[in-house]
Symmetry: C2
Subunit: 153 residues, 2 copies
DNA sequence: TATGTTTTAATCGTGCGCAATTAATATGTA
DNA sequence: TACATATTAATTGCGCACGATTAAAACATA
């Protein structure tokens, strides 16, 4: 059909350009679908998914700077500042400048945020049930995603 | 330390609530980081990542309804309508009502959109190189993500 | 044919995500 | 101490995502 000596030109049917042959699309779609699956559980707590992630950190650490939260979640202040302000309005956390370094803002868990810990404890197992995924598949996928994440840093 | 007969209460150190023990976070973070890795390549073409996905479909199908695009990408009209209008302004595609069913809107690839196909052909391989991931890892991860996606539908 | 239901996009409002810029503070160094 | 540099958040602007609602068209069926 095509002249094998023809100069290399973009293959109009380049199979690598097919949606189903790419890694990016299932990653993009699965991430959104998983967040959507969290929705009904988090909605009962009045939380969005990124807010839930911030609380996961604060339940573990009680106090963190914005910078530290950003390092854990791979988010910058452009995303975090307004998000944290919304959580401050709900009295889940407080924001204050660090005394020893006025550049840093310390985010501290407040009682109303602590109070969400109890009901949130059930979320992970509920999600596991919802997924109905064999545990070894779960562990394998998680470890491969963490590998990918390292490659992308 | 704790009374073993105490009533079950939310474990303050529930390990399932740790960020690193969850599936959701690496999925969420890897998806964002991968999109960010596409950025410099797509920016040369003036494309955002979701716009690139729409073009992938149109390069394959030439014409699709908004509904069909939404089914492929798992996006609704609230996301697609403004996105497609921006792509229409750039003359990459056209939008028109279907004659046989005025409810449907047909999205057709235009020459300027077709013209992006050539340069875009290199994007997938450049990303593969960027990832530096063994091919079998790539295939395994993709297939597991597709499995997860099916479970989440 | 009339009418209730379903389908399809568009619209609206809210909350991310992120690049780029700005402003304040801290640090390093001559 | 002065001054250049680096660090940390905040701000701005734009483009998704998505739930909820609306409006128009098509369909089903009594």
């Amino acid at each position: 059909m095509t002249d094998p000596a023809a100069p290399l030109s973009p293959d109009p049917s380049n199979p690598m350009l097919l949606l189903e042959n790419q890694l990016c699309f299932p990653l993009y779609a699965a991430s959104r679908m998983l967040t959507k699956a969290y929705q009904p559980l988090l909605q009962e707590l009045g939380l969005t998914y990124p807010q839930y992630l911030v609380l996961l950190l604060l339940w573990e650490h009680k106090e963190l700077t914005v910078k530290e939260i950003g390092e854990h979640l791979l988010l910058d202040s452009g995303t975090l500042t307004p998000l944290l302000k919304r959580m401050e309005q709900r009295k889940w956390l407080s924001r204050r400048r660090a005394a020893h370094d006025e550049r840093s803002v310390i985010i501290e868990l407040l009682p109303d945020g602590e109070a969400l810990h109890g009901p949130a404890c059930r979320v992970p197992e509920q999600m596991l049930t919802r997924l109905g995924m064999p545990n070894e598949d779960f562990l394998a996928l998680r470890s491969q995603l963490n590998n990918l994440l390292i490659r992308l840093q």
